[in-house]
Symmetry: C2
Subunit: 438 residues, 2 copies
Amino acid sequence: MKFTGVKGMRDFYPEDMGLRNWLTDAWRRVSVRNGFQEYDGPILEHLELYAAKSGDEIVEQLYHLTDRGGRELAIRPEMTPTLARMISARAASLPRPVKWFSIPRVCRAERPQKGRLREFFQWNIDIVGVDDLLADAESILVAVDFLREVGLTAADCVVRINSRRLVAAVLEDLRVPAPQIPKAYAILDKSDKIPREALVEMWTRALGDEVPFAAIEPLIGVEGLDALRTLAGSGKGGWAAAARELSVIESLFETLDVFGVTDYCSFEMSVVRGLAYYTGVVYEIFDRQRQHRAIGGGGRYDNLLRELGGPEMPGVGFGMGDVVIIDVLRDAGKLPSLRPGLDLYIVPAAADMRKTTMEMVSALRRGGWSTDFSYRLQPVAKLLRAASDRGAKRAVILGEETRVHDLVTVKDLESGRQQRRPRSEFLRDPMAPIPDSP
Amino acid sequence: MKFTGVKGMRDFYPEDMGLRNWLTDAWRRVSVRNGFQEYDGPILEHLELYAAKSGDEIVEQLYHLTDRGGRELAIRPEMTPTLARMISARAASLPRPVKWFSIPRVCRAERPQKGRLREFFQWNIDIVGVDDLLADAESILVAVDFLREVGLTAADCVVRINSRRLVAAVLEDLRVPAPQIPKAYAILDKSDKIPREALVEMWTRALGDEVPFAAIEPLIGVEGLDALRTLAGSGKGGWAAAARELSVIESLFETLDVFGVTDYCSFEMSVVRGLAYYTGVVYEIFDRQRQHRAIGGGGRYDNLLRELGGPEMPGVGFGMGDVVIIDVLRDAGKLPSLRPGLDLYIVPAAADMRKTTMEMVSALRRGGWSTDFSYRLQPVAKLLRAASDRGAKRAVILGEETRVHDLVTVKDLESGRQQRRPRSEFLRDPMAPIPDSP
C-alpha cells in the first residue's frame, strides 16, 4: 500500500471498534444515570478560542489551519472551551445547573508515547451555573460511578484531590507574591515527577530568592487530610487564609462520604493540574500502582465563561481519555471479552434454495434479526463453519424438505440442538427455544 | 460572547444531540442486522490519499494543514479512501467478503447551503473483496432497509440506479472516444439539473464536434428498464457493448425483486455520480418530490484499492449524510418525538433529608437508575415541578415519615398515582408498579 495512516492516530478495525463502543457506551450509560444530557460541537473551532485560556502546553499542540476565507481554525484539543462557548450563547434560557456530557474526538500534535496519542476520545462531564461545592462532589461521584461500572475498585484506582484556592492560600500565607503563584502551581505539579534538585532549580529560577524553596518544601508529599491538618497546625505566619480553605476541603470530603465514594478519594497537595483555567477544587484519577499516566482529571473553572466574553457562570467538570483507561483495564485484567455476533446464518443446502435464502435474509433483517449468508454456494459443512466463524447463534438450513414441505432446519450452534419447523412459523419467532431431541 | 462557532458547522445542544443519536442508532442497528461490522479511522489522513482518486470537487473542498513535522494532512472529506487504506493493510488476513460500516464525522470546505454543511456525519456501508452482483444488490437492500426502518416508504423515496459500464458501453457504441467518456459522465450527471442549452454548450466544449450532442440526447431522460430496452432496440451501430451491460442491469433488478425492494428502485440513465472511482453500478437515493439534494448514494469501485497501491480487490458501497435525511424526515412528518428523561427525581421535603437524598441518589445511580435531585432546598411543589421539567418518570418524596418510619413516598408523574413504601424495599425495585389507590 502506498499510503499509511497518520502517525500517532489509530485505525479502528472491527475488534478495536467493539472495544471503543463498549467504553463509550459505559461513559454514556453512567452519564445519563447521573442526570447528564449529551451535547457536541464541531471538530473545528476558531483558533483564538484556545489561545485565550487553555494554557501554553495545549496551544503548542494545536493542529491549526487557515481556510479559504482566511479564517484561522484549529481542531479541538479539548472540549471545555466549546462547552463555554455553547453555554454562553444560550445562558439566558438554559435551566441551571446545566449538567451536560460529551464524548468528543480531540487531536493534539504531541509526540506519541504510551498513554498519549495524537487523536483520542475524551469523556467530558460538566456542571455549569452553580458554585455549590455539591457540584464538585457530584462530578467526583460520576467519575467513581464509572470506575465501579467497569469493575475498577478502590484498590485499583484513586481520585487525588486538591484545591487551587487552598494552595494559593498556603502560598499567600508563606508570602509568595500573587503574580508568582501560577509559577508555583507549575512546580508543585511536577513535584512527584522530577527529582528534588531539579525542583529546587525550577523554583529558584522562577521565584528567585524571594521565598526560599525550603519554605514550600513541607507542602510536597502532603497526602491525606490528617497530614494537611498537621501541616496547617505547624504553620508559621498564622495560616489564616489556608485555614479557611482547609475547611472547604473538609466539607468536600464529608459530602463524598455521604455519596459513599471516599474509599476512592485521597487529598494530595501536589495535584494542581496543567490547564490555566482552573480556580478551585482540582483532581486527577490514577491507578494505585502509578504504572500509568492520569486516567482523567478535572476541577472548577469559575472564571472561564466570563474570560471568554460570556456571562459570569461558574463551572466544574472533568475529562477522561480513552487511551489510558483501556491500558489500566487491560493491566487489571478487566477488559471485557467482546465477540461480534449474528442472530442467524442462512445455509442453502441446494442450488435451487438461493432464491429462498435471499427472501428469508431480507425478511429476517426487516424483522430486526441480524442475519447473514454466503454469496457463494458451498457445501453445507463449510457454510456451517462460516456461520460459527461469524459468531452466529443459529444456522438455518434450507434443503429438500424446504422445497417439498416448506420446512426449515434450525440449528443452535452452541448447544448443537436442532429442530425442523414450518418456514412461516420459524419466521414469526426465529429464536424460539429448541427442545431437547427425544 | 466574543467567540462564535465556525460557519457551516453545527453545535449539537442536547435536543439536537438526541436527534443525532436517534439517527446514528438507526444506522448502526440496520448495519448490524444486515451483517456488517463497524470500523473507523482517524479524522486526519495524508493529503495525497485524496489527491489520488476522490475527484476534483472533493479535493477542492479539503481542509488541509501542514503539521510540525512538515507533513501535509487533510481532514477526511469522505470515508472510502480510509476504508481502502485499512483493508489494503490487512488484505491477506481479512475473511471475504469484508462487510463493514462506519459513521464518520467528515468535513468539506464548501459554501454552506440547504442540505450541505461544512461538517456532517456520514453513514458508510461497504462490501469489499467480491465482484458478485449480489453485493451491489445487497448494498441497495441495506439502504432500503434503513429507509423502511425510519418510516420512509416507496412513495417517499426512490433509489435511482444506473451502471457506469452501461453508460460507457452506450457511449462506446456511439463512437465516443474512451478518453472522453469521463467528460461525458460529468455532463450526463448534470442533465437533470441544468437547461438543455447549457448542456449542449458543455458537451460541445468538452467533446468538440466529434460526436454531436444529438447522438447522446436520447440517453437523457431514459427512466425505467422498459425505456432502456426501447433505447437499446432502436440503437444504431449494433449496441453490442450496451446489450451486454443491459443484461447485467436486468439481472440486478431481478435480485432486488427477490430481496423485495424493487418498489423503491428505478433505473435512470442520468445517474452517474461525481466521485472519480466508481466503475460499475451507481445509485442515488432521492425524495420522490425532488425537494431535496440526494439523500445518499453509492456504487461499485473495482479499481480503487489497486490504484491506491493496494491489492486487486473489488468493492461496492454507499454513503448517506445526516443533513438531507433529517430534512426529508422533517418534511415527511416522520421525525421521532424525543424527550430526554430520567427514571427518578428525589425530593427532600425537609432540610434534614439532604443527607438521605444524597445517599439515595448515589445508591440508585449505582443500581443503574437514572436519578437526579436539586442542589438547592426548595418547596416540595417546586421540586415536583422540576422533576416534571426534567422528564422524570417518578418523584420520590422524603419527609417526616422517612425520618420516623423509614418510608418513602413514590409518585408516578404521569398517572399521578402514589404509594408509601419502606425505603429498603423501594431501593430494591424502584420502578415496581404502583397499585390504584383504594
